[in-house]
């Protein structure tokens, strides 16, 4: 029996390990190509690590391309989108979770409806709307579009987190002397931190890697975000893989940092002990 269990455990670990390797391999390849000098890229065949590693691609990307600008743009757009969406969706999600109000059904239906269209369909009308307002070719325009597209899903996400928090807690706070908003701010929000962190992370990555709208709404280099910038390495006759990969590795850094910051809130268990469980 114990022997059988041991074998099963080992098999289980191996399977997990294999999956992790499968998931991480592209990232490793990204890193590998980014440090491979252009001269060795096609000559060495397939090997796990180049015979000579160099940072020449990084140097080029950081000093001779517009990548720093793209980076800054992406950071501004993603962070603003994440913050705005999280604020709006936590308020909306709270209302959805706690209140009964006229038209709630229709609002939920509308929110769902917005998630059903292929984005491509919406590009032309979106452009038509933003253009006269001077919001094409601007980061503000992008933020507005991203916020609009992310709020519905984030609202549902936040609602599910609020649903998990007992209603008695606000009732108790309100009887203790808090207004509903104070109870929300001092009691409910601190307990929803994992949910807020998840929403922030989700929206940040969604905005960080968004390509379609950025490509269609932005034309000048000044407002270009990083995913669109990556495309500039693809020219008509060649693809500069080394530089592209180096830029890709650099692009991973903010996302990694961001998750490092919020990861402790992603760990659930804060609400334990609130009510008899």
């Amino acid at each position: 029996m114990t022997r059988k269990r041991l074998v099963l455990t080992v098999l289980h670990r191996l399977a997990v390990l294999a999956y992790v390797a499968f998931a991480l391999f592209p990232l490793f390849w990204l890193l590998k190509v980014s440090v491979t000098p252009t001269s060795l890229l096609y000559t060495e065949g397939i090997r796990l690590w180049p015979s000579r590693a160099s940072l020449e691609h990084y140097e080029f990307v950081l000093t001779h391309s517009s990548f720093p600008t793209f980076f800054l743009n992406s950071t501004i757009v993603s962070a603003s989108t994440a913050v705005i969406v999280t604020i709006v969706s936590s308020l909306a999600g709270y209302a959805m979770s706690r209140f009964v109000f006229r038209g709630k059904y229709w609002i939920v239906a509308l929110l769902l409806l917005t998630q059903m269209f292929p984005l491509v369909m919406l590009i032309a009308p979106m452009f038509k709307m933003l253009s006269p307002l001077g919001l094409t070719n601007s980061l503000t325009g992008l933020v507005i579009v991203y916020v609009a597209f992310n709020v519905p899903f984030a609202t549902f996400l936040m609602q599910s987190f609020f649903d998990g928090i007992p209603k008695d807690l606000e009732d108790a706070a309100m009887i203790d002397g808090a207004t509903r908003f104070t109870a929300f701010r001092q009691i409910i929000l601190p307990l929803t931190l994992p949910g807020i962190a998840a929403t922030l992370g989700f929206v940040f990555t969604a905005a960080w890697s968004e390509l379609l709208f950025a490509l269609m709404l932005i034309s000048g280099e000044k407002a270009t975000t990083f995913p669109v910038g990556l495309l500039s390495f693809v020219s008509k006759f060649s693809v500069d893989f080394g530089q592209m990969m180096a830029a890709g590795v650099l692009a991973l850094i903010p996302a990694c940092l961001f998750f490092l910051l919020i990861q402790r809130y992603l760990v659930q268990g804060l609400t334990a002990g609130a009510v008899k469980g």
Binding site: P166, D171, A172, K276
Partner: protein, 355 residues
């Protein structure tokens, strides 16, 4: 301290009526228990006093001040929830002082009040802990501490002991009663447990189907239940009911047995009645005597202190509660006498008490 007046309160959830025209006045310092089966509207009524539910119609006053439109935070009441509802991200001390902080009480005063309440409830060693590090009984105590720390006008309890095991529940019950004696605050207590209601209440309000069935002190409800619902709800083991009709000056039960009509009660010929008799008022007699019955023992349930004996009599499964041991043996006949002064009679049409 305050009095609470409830006048013609009605509550509907959408189209579903929950409370019908409730009138109740709770005196200063009184301990009132709302008791009834789940869904009877007792918790809704309590939450309306707290301000957590809107009032559909009617008026609630605390000390003659109409509070229908007053926010919960301005009603100056404290509430203990069934789930305890402790703030999980705060320590016990912070949980208890939260209400005082919201009122911008001076820090020394807060420390003093929390210290006093913690001392009263034996919470001193736990003040720095978070709720998740507490046992159920300790959480319950913190919830009580949070309520008493601010000396509110009234305490509301929403089934505070339902989540505790039997032993702890008994202990906390006594503690709540002691606390009420020492603080003397007006209290409204909701429970579905009639023993809690009997032991704690100055006055019991028995509710069923959104209507107050009877209001009175615990022994009143036990001795003179106003209708079949109260008779069946108060008392454990529950009252026996026997159906019958008035025929020629006696009550004839469905199996043809005859029960004498208690003195001073007038029934019309043919009137459909239900006889109620508490298991502890059914006497087991040594031999056949005038007006006694003989029945076969069906089941014997010893409870330690007493014994519940089930017999088949008057067309019913009749329960008898006796303190004598070994008088009943399953399958053996038993002689039983009904004390006519202890009989309760109810009109079967209206379910109300007769006499």
């Amino acid at each position: 301290m305050a009095s609470i007046t409830i006048e013609a309160i009605t509550k509907t959830f959408g189209a579903v009526p929950v409370l019908h025209d409730i009138d109740l006045s709770i005196g200063d310092g009184e301990f009132v228990v709302l008791v009834g089966p789940s869904g009877c509207g007792k918790s809704t009524l309590l939450r309306m006093i707290a301000g957590l539910e809107d009032i559909t119609a009617g008026e609630i006053r605390i000390d003659d001040r109409r509070i229908n439109e007053v926010a919960p935070k301005d009603r100056d009441i404290a509430m203990v929830f069934q789930s305890y509802a402790l703030y999980p991200h705060m320590t016990v001390a912070d949980n208890m002082s939260y209400s005082l902080k919201l009122r911008k009480t001076a820090r020394e005063k807060i420390a003093e009040a929390v210290g006093a309440a913690a001392g009263k409830l034996g919470l001193d060693p736990l003040l720095a802990r978070r709720p998740k590090a507490l046992s159920g009984g300790q959480r319950q105590r913190v919830a009580m501490g949070r309520a008493i720390v601010r000396h509110p006008k009234a305490f509301l309890f929403d089934e505070p002991l339902s989540n505790l095991d039997a032993r702890l529940r008994e202990q906390m019950r006594a503690e709540i009663k002691r606390l009420h004696k020492s603080i003397g605050a007006t209290s409204v207590y909701v429970t579905h447990d009639q023993i809690e209601a009997m032991t704690l209440a100055d006055r019991i309000v028995a509710m069923h189907g959104g209507i107050i069935q009877q209001v009175g002190n615990p022994l009143d409800l036990y001795d003179r239940p106003a209708n079949l619902f109260v008779a069946g709800f108060i008392g454990s083991p529950a009252m026996n009911f026997v159906e019958g009709h008035c025929r020629a000056g006696v009550i004839e039960t469905t199996d043809g047995s005859k029960v004498a009509i208690p003195e001073g009660i007038h029934l019309t010929e043919g009137q459909a009645v239900t006889i109620g008799i508490r298991p502890e008022h059914v006497r087991i007699v040594a031999g056949s005597e005038a007006g006694s019955y003989t029945a076969r023992v069906d089941l014997v349930e010893p409870t330690g202190f007493g014994t519940i004996v089930h017999v088949r009599l008057l067309g019913q499964d009749l329960k008898i509660y006796t303190l004598e041991r070994g008088v009943a043996v399953v399958g053996q006949p038993l002689h039983i006498a009904l004390d006519s002064t202890r009989l309760h009679l109810f009109d079967r049409e209206t379910t109300n008490r007769i006499g």
